[in-house]
């Protein structure tokens, strides 16, 4: 087990600056989830941590050991690849034992760990199979088992579930959480999946174009996004943004078809009367209310069963709101009146796109 520290990590691949100064500290035993759009450098960051890429500058520390220039084998990290990367010519048992053999672990200890991992992940019946004779979900487990058997000080997961179907994903997600609760090892987990990000993370790190955009407990990041980028990246459907003006009373923002109260205490001193801002409201935070401050025109309704999403406009700005699935659904062209709680109204600077409060 070890804490992980990244200091001013930079990496250029070809012409592209992939990592542009990453500073990050992970406490021992923490489960950190990295999210970010495709190509923002998540895999590169993991690979740099694993020692598969050498950073151009900056430092990687495991515990208090500087491993920046050490090869992967000296780092005691285990990585679960998106492709699983199982050794095709070895049985599951030998795949699990591979790393232990290389480290000259005694046979008895290897057998003990293989058995333990096999039981933990319910793959005991697969031990003598070759990777080609298993399903995607089974391979995924073996890939995870191979990492666990090593008992490393840090686990790296690069989108380990993205090749699984939805049901299996949900199941393995819970298993990963269990594994973490059992082993209490530091884990860094890259994903595109919001649910994985929200449910697994002790701490969420949002990357954007090679820099850390925001980090913190997942709920906090979700509730208080530091920028429009983070706000639109987390949550589905994404947050709505409407260009608006701060009212003279410093407690409302107004725009065509929109007049919403915001948390005056939160934004005190950060906004001024008449200032142009971007207002952000999540579709889930909007509800129908007579005399609400939002005048919403419906274009399309997507019923999902227990809920529905109405796509339409507020003024001229595209807008999405959630509707209760039990209510009578509006028809295209209908005008709805809706409102949002003061807590759920976010205000961003339209130029820097950072949150103002």
């Amino acid at each position: 087990m070890a804490a992980v520290t990244l200091r001013a990590l930079r990496k250029t691949l070809g012409e592209n600056a992939i990592l542009r100064g990453i500073d990050l500290h992970l406490n021992d035993g923490e489960f950190v989830v990295l999210v970010g759009p495709s190509g923002c450098g998540k895999s590169t960051l993991l690979r740099t941590l694993a020692g598969l890429e050498e950073p151009d500058s900056g430092q990687v520390l495991l515990g208090d050991r500087d491993v920046t220039l050490r090869p992967p084998r000296d780092r005691d990290v285990a990585m679960v690849f998106q492709s699983y990367a199982l050794y095709p010519h070895l049985t599951v048992r030998e795949n699990l034992a591979f790393g232990l053999r290389l480290r000259k672990t005694p046979e008895a200890e290897i057998a003990r760990r293989v058995a333990r991992v096999a039981e933990m992940l319910s793959i005991a019946s697969l031990l003598d199979r070759l990777p080609k004779d298993m399903s995607g979900g089974q391979r995924q487990r073996v890939a995870m088992g191979r990492a666990i058997a090593r008992e490393p000080s840090v686990f790296l997961f690069d989108e380990p579930l993205s090749n699984l179907d939805a049901a299996l994903r949900a199941q393995v997600r819970v298993e990963i959480k269990k594994v973490h609760q059992t082993l209490k090892t530091t884990m860094i987990y890259v994903t595109h999946d919001q649910v994985e990000a929200m449910t697994l993370a002790d701490r969420l790190v949002v990357l954007s174009a090679g820099t850390v955009e925001q980090e913190g407990p997942p709920l906090e990041v979700y509730r208080r996004p530091a920028s429009m980028f983070v706000a639109s990246f987390l949550g589905s459907p994404a947050m709505n943004f409407v260009a608006a003006t701060v009212a003279p009373d410093l407690a409302r923002v107004t725009a065509e078809g929109l007049s919403l109260g915001f948390d005056a205490a939160r934004f005190r001193g950060k906004v001024s009367a008449g200032q142009s801002v971007m207002v952000g409201v999540r579709p889930h935070d909007v509800s129908r209310r007579p005399d609400g401050g939002l005048r919403f025109t419906v274009d399309v309704v997507e019923p999902m069963g227990f809920e529905a999403y109405a796509h339409g406009r507020v003024g001229e700005t595209p807008f999405v709101m959630r509707l209760d699935g039990h209510d009578a659904l509006p028809a295209p062209g209908d005008q709805l009146s809706a409102a949002a709680d003061v807590d759920s109204v976010h205000i961003f600077d339209p130029v820097t796109r950072k949150a103002l409060g």
């Binding site: 694993a50 090869p71 084998r73 285990a78 050794y87 090749n163």
Partner: protein, 284 residues
């Protein structure tokens, strides 16, 4: 009913065509077999590809051939062929494997130039270099030796093997060796423990091709070998149909004896040829 009958007709026709094609391909082979089994030793002017009298005298004559000094020539020549072909396969694959891996995985100065140069050597017919090679072998005192022949064969087998294996290594996902390295392997261990086993089918095939090319090669062998006891089998075989008499029966028997080992090897390794071993290592 009607579509059924049409389907049946199409089926019948396609089988008939296939059978005809097989017969066309097999006819000369049957002729060779027939010649080999015919004690008369001359091709009879007949269309039917089977002999009137069956006998193994031709085979016996070929296998027991010996020279005036009483040396068992056939055995000697078989040994030459086996040693030269195996050594060619071994040398070219041993050198090509690490080279191909480097070309597949690393970017280094001169990489492209190296590939182009190798490609250029492939465009040359081997025979074109026969004269300079002869001079070189003569200077090195390697004419009429197995080593000389292996050297010559390896120069053509090697680039081919390199291309084959480079393709094979490129097809092996990088993730595999990276996983091995994260698991604690050095690059060399990752290569030996993970990449090589995954490339085993390709290596087997490459070996086989190098072996066969050497086994069947005639022109260069005939150019560089003049002592009967140094001959490889194809050269020995050719001597049966010399200028003055043509022992077609023995020639045919010899041809069969030369091809049998190759066929046997093919059968032995065909299991490796089918389906790559990387199946199942990544995704689904």
């Amino acid at each position: 009913m009607k579509p059924r009958r049409i389907a049946w007709g199409v089926e019948f026709l396609s089988h008939a065509i296939a059978v005809a094609a097989v017969a066309f391909a097999l006819y000369p082979v049957l002729w060779v077999v027939s010649l080999a089994l015919n004690p008369a030793g001359t091709p009879a002017p007949r269309a039917a590809p089977w002999p009137e009298v069956l006998s193994l005298v031709n085979f016996r004559a070929v296998v027991s051939s010996s020279n005036s000094a009483g040396e068992w020539l056939f055995g000697r020549q078989l040994l030459n062929s086996v040693l030269v072909s195996s050594a060619t396969a071994a040398v070219s694959v041993l050198i090509a494997t690490p080279a191909a891996y480097a070309l597949a995985r690393f970017r280094f100065v001169g990489e492209r130039t190296a590939m182009k140069a190798l490609l250029a050597t492939q465009m040359f017919p081997g025979v074109a270099t026969a004269v300079p090679l002869y001079v070189m072998l003569d200077t090195l005192k390697l004419l009429d030796t197995r080593a000389g022949l292996v050297l010559v064969y390896a120069t053509t087998a090697l680039p081919f093997a390199l291309f084959q294996l480079r393709g094979a290594f490129e097809a092996i996902p990088r993730d595999l060796e990276e996983a091995a390295m994260v698991d604690g392997a050095t690059r060399w261990q990752a290569f030996v423990l993970v990449v090589l086993p995954a490339a085993r089918p390709a290596i087997a095939v490459t070996c086989l091709f190098a072996f066969m090319a050497a086994w069947n090669e005639f022109i260069l062998a005939a150019t560089f070998l003049s002592r009967e006891s140094a001959f490889t089998l194809p050269v020995a075989l050719q001597r049966y149909v010399g200028e003055y008499d043509a022992a077609w029966g023995r020639f045919a028997a010899g041809a069969i004896l030369v091809s049998v080992p190759v066929m046997a090897i093919f059968y032995a390794v065909q299991r490796h040829l089918v389906g790559g071993l990387t199946a199942g290592s990544v995704k689904g």
